[in-house]
Amino acid sequence: MALAPYELEDLTLKTLRATRAGMLSEEFQLTLLLKPAAERKAAALLLSDVQVTILKLEALELAAIRDDLVANADELEAGAKDLKAKLENLEQVQEVVAATAQFLAIVARIAALAA
Protein backbone atom coordinates (compact mmCIF):
# COMPACT_ATOMS: atom_id res chain seq x y z
CA MET A 1 0.00 0.00 0.00
CA ALA A 2 1.36 3.45 -0.91
CA LEU A 3 2.31 5.76 1.94
CA ALA A 4 0.33 8.95 2.55
CA PRO A 5 2.36 12.18 2.03
CA TYR A 6 2.70 12.79 5.77
CA GLU A 7 3.80 9.17 6.33
CA LEU A 8 6.42 9.59 3.61
CA GLU A 9 7.69 12.81 5.24
CA ASP A 10 7.79 11.10 8.60
CA LEU A 11 9.70 8.13 7.20
CA THR A 12 12.14 10.45 5.40
CA LEU A 13 12.80 12.41 8.58
CA LYS A 14 13.31 9.24 10.63
CA THR A 15 15.71 7.84 8.01
CA LEU A 16 17.71 11.07 7.81
CA ARG A 17 17.95 11.30 11.60
CA ALA A 18 19.21 7.71 11.77
CA THR A 19 21.70 8.49 8.97
CA ARG A 20 22.97 11.54 10.86
CA ALA A 21 23.39 9.54 14.08
CA GLY A 22 25.24 6.82 12.13
CA MET A 23 27.54 9.29 10.38
CA LEU A 24 28.36 10.88 13.74
CA SER A 25 29.07 7.55 15.40
CA GLU A 26 32.60 6.77 16.53
CA GLU A 27 32.62 3.69 14.33
CA PHE A 28 31.96 5.70 11.15
CA GLN A 29 34.05 8.73 12.00
CA LEU A 30 37.11 6.81 13.23
CA THR A 31 37.08 4.74 10.06
CA LEU A 32 36.75 7.94 8.05
CA LEU A 33 39.85 9.39 9.72
CA LEU A 34 41.92 6.73 7.96
CA LYS A 35 40.52 7.58 4.54
CA PRO A 36 41.97 10.07 2.01
CA ALA A 37 41.19 13.77 2.48
CA ALA A 38 38.86 13.86 -0.55
CA GLU A 39 36.75 11.07 0.91
CA ARG A 40 36.63 12.78 4.31
CA LYS A 41 35.58 16.03 2.65
CA ALA A 42 32.82 14.32 0.64
CA ALA A 43 31.49 12.66 3.81
CA ALA A 44 31.57 15.97 5.73
CA LEU A 45 29.67 17.79 2.98
CA LEU A 46 27.14 14.97 2.80
CA LEU A 47 26.64 15.07 6.57
CA SER A 48 26.06 18.82 6.40
CA ASP A 49 23.50 18.32 3.62
CA VAL A 50 21.75 15.68 5.73
CA GLN A 51 21.63 18.12 8.66
CA VAL A 52 20.23 20.97 6.52
CA THR A 53 17.55 18.65 5.08
CA ILE A 54 16.59 17.47 8.58
CA LEU A 55 16.25 21.09 9.75
CA LYS A 56 14.12 21.95 6.70
CA LEU A 57 11.81 18.96 7.23
CA GLU A 58 11.50 19.71 10.94
CA ALA A 59 10.61 23.31 10.17
CA LEU A 60 7.98 22.13 7.66
CA GLU A 61 6.52 19.62 10.11
CA LEU A 62 6.26 22.12 12.96
CA ALA A 63 5.05 24.92 10.67
CA ALA A 64 2.14 22.75 9.49
CA ILE A 65 1.04 22.22 13.11
CA ARG A 66 1.62 25.90 13.89
CA ASP A 67 -0.64 26.95 11.00
CA ASP A 68 -3.43 24.71 12.31
CA LEU A 69 -2.97 26.13 15.80
CA VAL A 70 -2.99 29.72 14.54
CA ALA A 71 -6.22 28.98 12.65
CA ASN A 72 -7.83 28.33 16.06
CA ALA A 73 -6.14 31.16 17.92
CA ASP A 74 -9.09 33.56 17.70
CA GLU A 75 -11.45 30.97 19.14
CA LEU A 76 -9.05 30.26 21.97
CA GLU A 77 -8.79 33.96 22.80
CA ALA A 78 -12.58 34.31 22.62
CA GLY A 79 -12.91 31.37 25.05
CA ALA A 80 -10.56 33.02 27.53
CA LYS A 81 -12.51 36.28 27.20
CA ASP A 82 -15.84 34.51 27.82
CA LEU A 83 -14.42 32.84 30.92
CA LYS A 84 -13.32 36.21 32.29
CA ALA A 85 -16.81 37.62 31.62
CA LYS A 86 -18.32 34.71 33.57
CA LEU A 87 -16.00 35.46 36.48
CA GLU A 88 -17.30 39.04 36.45
CA ASN A 89 -20.87 37.72 36.50
CA LEU A 90 -19.99 35.59 39.50
CA GLU A 91 -18.63 38.66 41.26
CA GLN A 92 -21.90 40.44 40.42
CA VAL A 93 -23.83 37.69 42.24
CA GLN A 94 -21.77 38.53 45.30
CA GLU A 95 -22.59 42.22 44.85
CA VAL A 96 -26.31 41.47 44.63
CA VAL A 97 -26.21 39.52 47.91
CA ALA A 98 -24.25 42.34 49.57
CA ALA A 99 -26.76 44.89 48.34
CA THR A 100 -29.65 42.75 49.61
CA ALA A 101 -28.01 42.49 53.04
CA GLN A 102 -27.57 46.27 53.14
CA PHE A 103 -31.16 46.75 52.13
CA LEU A 104 -32.29 44.41 54.90
CA ALA A 105 -30.21 46.36 57.40
CA ILE A 106 -32.13 49.49 56.44
CA VAL A 107 -35.42 47.61 56.72
CA ALA A 108 -34.37 46.36 60.17
CA ARG A 109 -33.68 49.91 61.32
CA ILE A 110 -37.09 51.02 60.06
CA ALA A 111 -38.65 48.05 61.87
CA ALA A 112 -36.85 49.00 65.08
CA LEU A 113 -38.10 52.54 64.77
CA ALA A 114 -41.59 51.28 64.12
CA ALA A 115 -41.59 48.87 67.11
Partner: protein, 314 residues
Protein backbone atom coordinates in the same frame (compact mmCIF):
# COMPACT_ATOMS: atom_id res chain seq x y z
CA UNK B 1 -45.17 58.33 70.50
CA UNK B 2 -45.64 60.96 67.82
CA UNK B 3 -48.73 60.94 65.66
CA UNK B 4 -46.48 60.65 62.64
CA UNK B 5 -44.88 57.41 63.90
CA UNK B 6 -48.18 55.84 64.80
CA UNK B 7 -49.48 56.68 61.35
CA UNK B 8 -46.53 54.75 59.80
CA UNK B 9 -46.80 51.69 61.98
CA UNK B 10 -50.15 50.26 60.77
CA UNK B 11 -48.99 50.42 57.15
CA UNK B 12 -45.42 49.17 57.78
CA UNK B 13 -46.04 46.25 60.07
CA UNK B 14 -48.11 44.00 57.74
CA UNK B 15 -45.68 44.81 54.97
CA UNK B 16 -42.67 43.88 57.10
CA UNK B 17 -44.32 40.69 58.32
CA UNK B 18 -45.10 39.70 54.75
CA UNK B 19 -41.54 40.44 53.57
CA UNK B 20 -40.08 38.57 56.55
CA UNK B 21 -42.11 35.48 55.74
CA UNK B 22 -41.30 35.65 52.03
CA UNK B 23 -37.56 36.03 52.56
CA UNK B 24 -37.33 33.29 55.16
CA UNK B 25 -39.41 30.98 52.98
CA UNK B 26 -37.33 31.83 49.95
CA UNK B 27 -34.08 31.14 51.77
CA UNK B 28 -35.39 27.88 53.19
CA UNK B 29 -36.61 26.79 49.77
CA UNK B 30 -33.28 27.69 48.18
CA UNK B 31 -31.55 25.86 50.97
CA UNK B 32 -33.48 22.67 50.48
CA UNK B 33 -33.08 22.80 46.70
CA UNK B 34 -29.44 23.68 46.82
CA UNK B 35 -28.51 21.17 49.50
CA UNK B 36 -29.71 18.34 47.31
CA UNK B 37 -27.21 19.49 44.68
CA UNK B 38 -24.49 20.83 46.96
CA UNK B 39 -22.17 17.84 47.03
CA UNK B 40 -22.42 17.52 43.25
CA UNK B 41 -21.64 21.22 42.71
CA UNK B 42 -18.66 21.14 45.08
CA UNK B 43 -17.24 18.02 43.50
CA UNK B 44 -17.67 19.40 39.96
CA UNK B 45 -16.02 22.71 40.83
CA UNK B 46 -13.14 20.71 42.33
CA UNK B 47 -12.84 18.84 39.03
CA UNK B 48 -12.81 22.09 37.00
CA UNK B 49 -10.21 23.48 39.37
CA UNK B 50 -7.95 20.43 38.95
CA UNK B 51 -8.37 20.46 35.18
CA UNK B 52 -7.58 24.19 35.01
CA UNK B 53 -4.49 23.66 37.20
CA UNK B 54 -3.39 20.74 35.01
CA UNK B 55 -3.93 22.82 31.86
CA UNK B 56 -1.89 25.71 33.25
CA UNK B 57 0.90 23.41 34.41
CA UNK B 58 0.90 21.64 31.04
CA UNK B 59 1.14 24.94 29.13
CA UNK B 60 4.01 26.12 31.32
CA UNK B 61 5.84 22.80 30.93
CA UNK B 62 5.34 22.92 27.16
CA UNK B 63 6.77 26.44 27.00
CA UNK B 64 9.89 25.24 28.84
CA UNK B 65 10.13 22.12 26.69
CA UNK B 66 10.05 24.21 23.51
CA UNK B 67 12.92 26.31 24.86
CA UNK B 68 14.91 23.19 25.78
CA UNK B 69 14.22 21.54 22.41
CA UNK B 70 15.63 24.65 20.70
CA UNK B 71 18.76 24.67 22.87
CA UNK B 72 19.45 20.99 22.15
CA UNK B 73 18.98 21.59 18.45
CA UNK B 74 21.54 24.41 18.49
CA UNK B 75 24.03 22.31 20.50
CA UNK B 76 23.62 19.29 18.21
CA UNK B 77 24.15 21.47 15.14
CA UNK B 78 27.23 23.13 16.66
CA UNK B 79 28.76 19.76 17.51
CA UNK B 80 28.14 18.58 13.95
CA UNK B 81 29.89 21.68 12.57
CA UNK B 82 32.89 20.95 14.81
CA UNK B 83 32.95 17.33 13.67
CA UNK B 84 33.16 18.39 10.01
CA UNK B 85 35.53 21.30 10.49
CA UNK B 86 38.86 19.54 9.93
CA UNK B 87 37.76 17.91 6.69
CA UNK B 88 36.65 21.14 4.98
CA UNK B 89 38.35 24.11 3.37
CA UNK B 90 37.60 27.62 4.72
CA UNK B 91 35.18 28.25 1.80
CA UNK B 92 33.38 24.99 2.45
CA UNK B 93 33.23 25.73 6.17
CA UNK B 94 31.71 29.12 5.41
CA UNK B 95 29.12 27.63 3.09
CA UNK B 96 28.08 24.74 5.36
CA UNK B 97 28.03 27.04 8.39
CA UNK B 98 25.69 29.48 6.65
CA UNK B 99 23.39 26.77 5.30
CA UNK B 100 23.08 25.03 8.65
CA UNK B 101 22.58 28.31 10.55
CA UNK B 102 19.84 29.36 8.15
CA UNK B 103 18.08 25.99 8.54
CA UNK B 104 18.45 26.22 12.30
CA UNK B 105 17.00 29.73 12.40
CA UNK B 106 13.94 28.59 10.44
CA UNK B 107 13.19 25.78 12.90
CA UNK B 108 13.81 28.03 15.90
CA UNK B 109 11.45 30.65 14.47
CA UNK B 110 8.64 28.09 14.18
CA UNK B 111 9.39 26.91 17.72
CA UNK B 112 9.04 30.53 18.85
CA UNK B 113 5.61 30.67 17.18
CA UNK B 114 4.59 27.45 18.94
CA UNK B 115 5.71 28.92 22.25
CA UNK B 116 3.65 32.06 21.60
CA UNK B 117 0.63 29.90 20.90
CA UNK B 118 1.20 27.86 24.06
CA UNK B 119 1.05 31.16 25.94
CA UNK B 120 -2.43 31.66 24.50
CA UNK B 121 -3.42 28.24 25.78
CA UNK B 122 -2.01 29.13 29.19
CA UNK B 123 -4.09 32.32 29.13
CA UNK B 124 -7.22 30.25 28.54
CA UNK B 125 -6.43 27.85 31.38
CA UNK B 126 -5.56 30.77 33.68
CA UNK B 127 -9.00 32.26 33.02
CA UNK B 128 -10.58 28.86 33.68
CA UNK B 129 -8.60 28.55 36.92
CA UNK B 130 -9.62 32.05 38.04
CA UNK B 131 -13.28 31.17 37.60
CA UNK B 132 -13.03 27.73 39.20
CA UNK B 133 -10.97 29.02 42.13
CA UNK B 134 -13.08 32.15 42.67
CA UNK B 135 -13.46 32.86 46.39
CA UNK B 136 -16.84 34.47 45.73
CA UNK B 137 -18.72 31.73 47.61
CA UNK B 138 -16.75 32.32 50.81
CA UNK B 139 -17.17 36.08 50.46
CA UNK B 140 -20.86 35.62 49.90
CA UNK B 141 -20.95 33.37 52.95
CA UNK B 142 -20.00 36.39 55.06
CA UNK B 143 -22.67 38.50 53.41
CA UNK B 144 -25.17 35.73 54.05
CA UNK B 145 -24.25 35.72 57.72
CA UNK B 146 -24.93 39.46 57.86
CA UNK B 147 -28.20 38.90 56.09
CA UNK B 148 -29.23 36.27 58.64
CA UNK B 149 -28.25 38.65 61.43
CA UNK B 150 -30.58 41.27 60.01
CA UNK B 151 -33.35 38.70 59.67
CA UNK B 152 -32.89 37.74 63.29
CA UNK B 153 -33.39 41.34 64.33
CA UNK B 154 -36.71 41.20 62.52
CA UNK B 155 -37.62 37.82 63.94
CA UNK B 156 -35.81 36.78 67.15
CA UNK B 157 -37.52 33.37 67.05
CA UNK B 158 -35.60 32.56 63.85
CA UNK B 159 -32.41 32.17 65.86
CA UNK B 160 -33.84 29.21 67.76
CA UNK B 161 -35.57 27.56 64.83
CA UNK B 162 -34.19 24.28 63.46
CA UNK B 163 -34.57 22.21 60.31
CA UNK B 164 -33.92 18.59 61.19
CA UNK B 165 -30.87 18.72 63.42
CA UNK B 166 -29.53 21.91 61.88
CA UNK B 167 -29.95 25.35 63.37
CA UNK B 168 -31.60 27.70 60.88
CA UNK B 169 -28.91 30.33 61.44
CA UNK B 170 -26.13 27.93 60.39
CA UNK B 171 -28.27 26.40 57.72
CA UNK B 172 -29.09 29.67 55.97
CA UNK B 173 -25.47 30.79 56.27
CA UNK B 174 -24.46 27.76 54.27
CA UNK B 175 -27.22 28.03 51.69
CA UNK B 176 -26.09 31.11 49.79
CA UNK B 177 -22.56 29.82 49.07
CA UNK B 178 -24.13 26.63 47.78
CA UNK B 179 -26.40 28.62 45.47
CA UNK B 180 -23.38 30.53 44.23
CA UNK B 181 -21.46 27.28 43.78
CA UNK B 182 -24.32 26.05 41.60
CA UNK B 183 -24.15 29.24 39.59
CA UNK B 184 -20.36 28.89 39.31
CA UNK B 185 -20.63 25.24 38.27
CA UNK B 186 -23.29 26.08 35.67
CA UNK B 187 -21.14 28.92 34.28
CA UNK B 188 -18.07 26.66 33.99
CA UNK B 189 -20.11 23.80 32.56
CA UNK B 190 -21.73 26.04 29.95
CA UNK B 191 -18.43 27.60 28.92
CA UNK B 192 -16.59 24.29 28.66
CA UNK B 193 -19.40 22.76 26.61
CA UNK B 194 -19.32 25.79 24.32
CA UNK B 195 -15.52 25.59 24.01
CA UNK B 196 -15.41 21.79 23.71
CA UNK B 197 -14.90 21.53 19.90
CA UNK B 198 -12.25 24.26 19.95
CA UNK B 199 -10.44 22.81 22.98
CA UNK B 200 -10.51 19.31 21.56
CA UNK B 201 -8.83 20.58 18.36
CA UNK B 202 -6.30 22.52 20.42
CA UNK B 203 -5.41 19.51 22.53
CA UNK B 204 -5.23 17.25 19.49
CA UNK B 205 -2.77 19.69 17.91
CA UNK B 206 -0.84 19.84 21.17
CA UNK B 207 -0.44 16.07 20.88
CA UNK B 208 1.15 16.60 17.48
CA UNK B 209 3.43 19.37 18.81
CA UNK B 210 4.54 17.24 21.73
CA UNK B 211 5.20 14.20 19.55
CA UNK B 212 7.23 16.26 17.07
CA UNK B 213 9.22 17.96 19.83
CA UNK B 214 9.87 14.69 21.67
CA UNK B 215 11.07 12.91 18.52
CA UNK B 216 13.28 15.88 17.65
CA UNK B 217 14.75 15.98 21.16
CA UNK B 218 15.47 12.25 21.10
CA UNK B 219 17.20 12.45 17.71
CA UNK B 220 19.13 15.62 18.57
CA UNK B 221 20.32 14.17 21.87
CA UNK B 222 21.55 11.03 20.14
CA UNK B 223 23.34 13.11 17.54
CA UNK B 224 24.78 15.43 20.21
CA UNK B 225 25.92 12.54 22.36
CA UNK B 226 27.60 10.76 19.41
CA UNK B 227 29.36 13.90 18.23
CA UNK B 228 30.53 14.92 21.70
CA UNK B 229 31.85 11.46 22.41
CA UNK B 230 33.71 11.54 19.12
CA UNK B 231 35.12 15.07 19.44
CA UNK B 232 35.92 15.09 23.15
CA UNK B 233 36.99 11.48 23.71
CA UNK B 234 37.59 9.30 20.65
CA UNK B 235 39.34 11.76 18.30
CA UNK B 236 41.77 13.15 20.88
CA UNK B 237 42.70 9.58 21.81
CA UNK B 238 43.23 8.43 18.22
CA UNK B 239 45.01 11.53 16.96
CA UNK B 240 48.57 12.58 17.82
CA UNK B 241 49.16 14.98 20.70
CA UNK B 242 48.46 15.25 24.40
CA UNK B 243 45.11 14.19 25.78
CA UNK B 244 43.03 16.74 27.69
CA UNK B 245 43.50 16.50 31.48
CA UNK B 246 39.80 15.75 31.88
CA UNK B 247 39.84 12.98 29.25
CA UNK B 248 39.03 10.14 31.70
CA UNK B 249 36.18 12.09 33.36
CA UNK B 250 34.82 13.19 29.97
CA UNK B 251 34.83 9.62 28.69
CA UNK B 252 33.12 8.28 31.81
CA UNK B 253 30.48 11.05 31.73
CA UNK B 254 29.71 10.58 28.04
CA UNK B 255 29.54 6.79 28.20
CA UNK B 256 27.28 6.97 31.28
CA UNK B 257 24.78 9.27 29.56
CA UNK B 258 21.61 7.33 28.98
CA UNK B 259 18.98 8.35 26.54
CA UNK B 260 15.59 8.98 28.03
CA UNK B 261 13.31 7.09 25.69
CA UNK B 262 10.96 5.93 28.46
CA UNK B 263 10.54 9.43 29.91
CA UNK B 264 9.93 10.85 26.45
CA UNK B 265 7.21 8.27 25.88
CA UNK B 266 5.51 9.26 29.14
CA UNK B 267 5.82 12.94 28.27
CA UNK B 268 4.28 12.30 24.86
CA UNK B 269 1.21 10.89 26.64
CA UNK B 270 0.58 14.15 28.53
CA UNK B 271 -1.26 15.94 25.71
CA UNK B 272 -3.34 12.85 25.01
CA UNK B 273 -4.23 12.41 28.69
CA UNK B 274 -5.13 16.11 28.92
CA UNK B 275 -7.50 15.70 26.00
CA UNK B 276 -9.06 12.51 27.38
CA UNK B 277 -9.49 14.13 30.80
CA UNK B 278 -11.15 17.12 29.18
CA UNK B 279 -13.61 14.91 27.31
CA UNK B 280 -14.35 12.97 30.53
CA UNK B 281 -14.84 16.25 32.41
CA UNK B 282 -17.31 17.64 29.88
CA UNK B 283 -19.18 14.32 29.82
CA UNK B 284 -19.10 14.17 33.62
CA UNK B 285 -17.29 10.83 33.51
CA UNK B 286 -14.15 11.68 35.48
CA UNK B 287 -12.79 8.62 37.29
CA UNK B 288 -10.99 8.69 40.65
CA UNK B 289 -7.48 8.22 39.17
CA UNK B 290 -7.87 10.32 36.02
CA UNK B 291 -6.25 13.44 37.43
CA UNK B 292 -3.41 11.42 39.02
CA UNK B 293 -2.49 10.02 35.61
CA UNK B 294 -2.69 13.49 34.04
CA UNK B 295 -0.40 15.06 36.63
CA UNK B 296 2.01 12.10 36.34
CA UNK B 297 2.25 12.63 32.57
CA UNK B 298 2.81 16.38 32.97
CA UNK B 299 5.51 15.55 35.54
CA UNK B 300 7.15 13.40 32.86
CA UNK B 301 7.49 16.53 30.67
CA UNK B 302 9.23 18.30 33.54
CA UNK B 303 11.46 15.22 34.04
CA UNK B 304 12.45 15.38 30.37
CA UNK B 305 13.28 19.08 30.73
CA UNK B 306 15.50 18.36 33.76
CA UNK B 307 17.18 15.43 32.04
CA UNK B 308 17.85 17.37 28.84
CA UNK B 309 19.31 20.21 30.87
CA UNK B 310 21.72 17.84 32.61
CA UNK B 311 22.46 15.91 29.39
CA UNK B 312 23.47 19.05 27.51
CA UNK B 313 25.71 20.39 30.26
CA UNK B 314 29.33 20.32 29.14
Amino acid sequence: MSPQTSSVRPRLKPLLLCRRFDRVAMLLFLGLAACSLSSCAGRRIGQFDKFATAGKTYSEAMTKLTVEAGQIKIDADSELLLTNRDALSPEERSSTYQNQTEGLKDVLAVMGDLRAHTQLLRKYFSALAALSQSDAPSGIGEEAANLVGELQKLSPSLEKATIGNANVKDFIGAVVPIVVAQFQRAALEEQLRKDAPMLERQLELQKAVLAALAEGIEADLESLSNARSLNQVAKPYVQEGDLPKTWREDRRALLSTTLMAASLDDAKDAADTLKKTFVALVENKIGPGDFDQLFADIDAILDVIEMTQSATEE
